[in-house]
Amino acid sequence: MTLDNKLLHALYRDMRRIRSLEERVSELFVRSESAGSMLHLSIGEEGVAGIVRAMDTQDSFTTHHRGHGIFVARGAEPARMLAEIAGKADGYCRGKGGSMHIADMGLGHLGANAIVGGGIAHAVGAALAYKRKKQPRVSVAFFGDGAMQQGILYESMNLAALWSLPVVFVCINNQYGMGTRIDRATANIAFDERARAFGLDGAIVDGTDVELVHETAERMIGNARNGKPGFLSITCYRFYGHARMDKSPYRDAEEEAAGRARDPLGKARARLIERGAKAAELDALDAEVAAEMDAALEAAVKSALPPVDTMFEDVFGPDQQKPTPLRARLNAMLSEATR
């Protein structure tokens, strides 16, 4: 395989793993094994793999509530992800955070966030730390188009440009914030203009062309490493509803059909075949990924729920005073023994 075939092949694999994982997340819900229904699938946004592969291992990132795909591309263990989404003890966060709060310091995942725009400034702060410690690291803030209307994004861009921080702001523009199409949320969707107005590099690329995404991200992450922060928006389409319960009644079938036709995975596959890859070999890859994800799903389902008393752990650091459980308070007040 030529070098860029190798790359595209790797990216295809990443994207397939994302979609395959998200399908299992959906299944987890259908089997009522998920912790709640606030599950946001990144199907249609697999192009993020191009950005993640452009990051170095020591780089870090924060994500929004729709961050499963990004973390899968980064190398997450599907079983631990699904266990967390199921609220199990084996999950990345011991079942305390769930789908919207997956994090893993080992892989530089500074955390998914359930507050739109909530994690953006954290990446800026991480970049500040890298600069201060003279580490050649970059932090990437991933967020959706909805966060483009949150003020903290502009405060963060301004700080990044003012301080020349190694940070890249990545907007995953899937055209929707819940039921609101982007053109109903803003008068000017040329988001790159905003970034430039704040002194950043800015670019908008087709998020379904994972090679283009990768190439642009490599340039921007490289510039960021040299103190020139940037903003990248990748244009894609949210294939399904906002969360597991949403059937998207606010958009029509034609639009959805057209949107789903803009498929990063399909496009990559077609390209690989054009470049001589065999359909059979790709099918084999898909099957292998499916088997991996099926195993992860079963492992998550089998994983135990956390003991209820663990809820009092992790509020404060180790060896710090813990919160007093309510029953202990009532005992101190009402029990003849302790009163």
Partner: protein, 333 residues
């Protein structure tokens, strides 16, 4: 008079209020086309049009700020904050602006707006989508705070809030939307600012609000079976706060318990406990007990989430103990 749900009662209140007052507009994320994250505004955009039902970008600070300015300029906005957990983004507009404008400006003008939001646990929505933050708002002079527990209150408290000259924070509970009950548009359970005794009792007074009213009533049922007669008071509004109804009850029962879903420390349960001992000190047989949410962020895992907030059983166990019948299994020996 009709059987309906808490959600529909809220929706009907908005419809009736908007028909009665052309200056009322609703603005917030997903209130229009989507019909509201919890369906309270479903269909309103078809009925009242996009000029009165405004879908907004995800810009909470500007949404509330714009509502403040609109309220000062002849409209009566109902701003919807999808989750009360997001109030941290708008506390400046709420507490420094909406709440203080009348005062800072020497009474020249008020800010007649309603901020609707919802809180509470029950959906494994995790730490940033499950909180009960009424204590923040109830601490700020200039804000009214309403927290309906029943279908009829959902209707009447919202209707009344939409007639007041001042900002009202109207907090719903995500676990109550599907709650069924009777709504009588002609007859509120009580006037605005008055608490309602949801169940009479003689041995113990339980003071609560929002969804914990239901848990407390279920607990009172269990207590009755064990010979303890518990009175359950639903506050309905935290500001105004009906001290009289609480004091009158505790002076009769001589025992008081405060129940909230919110974290115990610094929660409104503390204000209620403090006021009860201030007004009923000579009448209390036992200290005022607080049964409240644990002092921990809300975990996502269902058993942990459930374990982090009070339920009927815990309330009943504590009530039985407070009434000096059997201590609970978890009592220290």
């Amino acid at each position: 008079m009709s059987e309906t749900t808490y959600r529909e009662a809220l929706r009907q209140a908005l419809i009736d209020a908007m028909n009665a007052d052309p200056d009322i507009v609703v603005l917030g994320e997903e209130v229009g086309l989507y019909g509201g994250a919890y369906g309270v505004t479903r269909g309103l955009i078809d009925q009242f049009g996009p000029e009165r039902i405004l879908d907004t970008p995800i810009s909470e600070a500007a949404i509330v700020g714009a509502a403040v300015g609109a309220a000062m300029s002849g409209l009566r906005p109902v701003a919807e904050l999808m989750y009360v957990d997001f109030v941290g983004i708008v506390m400046d507009q709420l507490a420094n602006q909406a709440a203080k404008i009348r005062y800072m400006f020497g009474g020249q003008i008020g800010v007649p707006m309603v901020l609707r939001s919802q809180g509470g646990t029950g959906r494994s929505a995790a730490a940033q989508h499950s909180q009960s933050l009424e204590a923040w708002m109830a601490h700020i002079p200039g804000l009214r705070v309403a927290m309906p527990a029943t279908v009829n209150d959902a209707y009447h408290l919202l209707r009344h809030a939409l007639t007041l000259p001042d900002p009202v924070v109207f907090l719903e509970h995500k676990g109550l939307y599907v709650q069924k009950g009777t709504m009588d548009p002609a007859k509120p359970d009580a006037p605005w600012g008055k608490a309602v005794v949801r169940r009479g009792g003689t041995d113990l007074t339980i003071v609560t609000y929002s969804k914990m009213v239901l848990e407390s009533l279920a607990a009172a049922e269990q207590l009755a079976a064990q010979g303890v007669s518990a009175e359950v008071i639903d506050l309905r509004t935290l500001n105004p706060l009906d001290d009289e109804t609480i004091a009158a009850s505790v002076r009769r029962t001589h025992r008081a318990m405060v129940v909230t879903e919110a974290h115990l420390t610094g929660g409104f349960s503390a204000e209620l406990s403090a006021r009860i001992q201030e007004s009923c000190f000579d009448h209390l047989e036992e200290p005022v007990a607080r049964v409240a949410g644990e002092d921990i962020p809300i975990p996502v895992s269902p058993p942990l989430e459930r374990g982090s907030v009070p339920n009927a059983q815990l309330i009943a166990e504590t009530g039985l103990w407070l009434a000096r019948r059997t201590p609970p299994a978890w009592a220290a020996q």
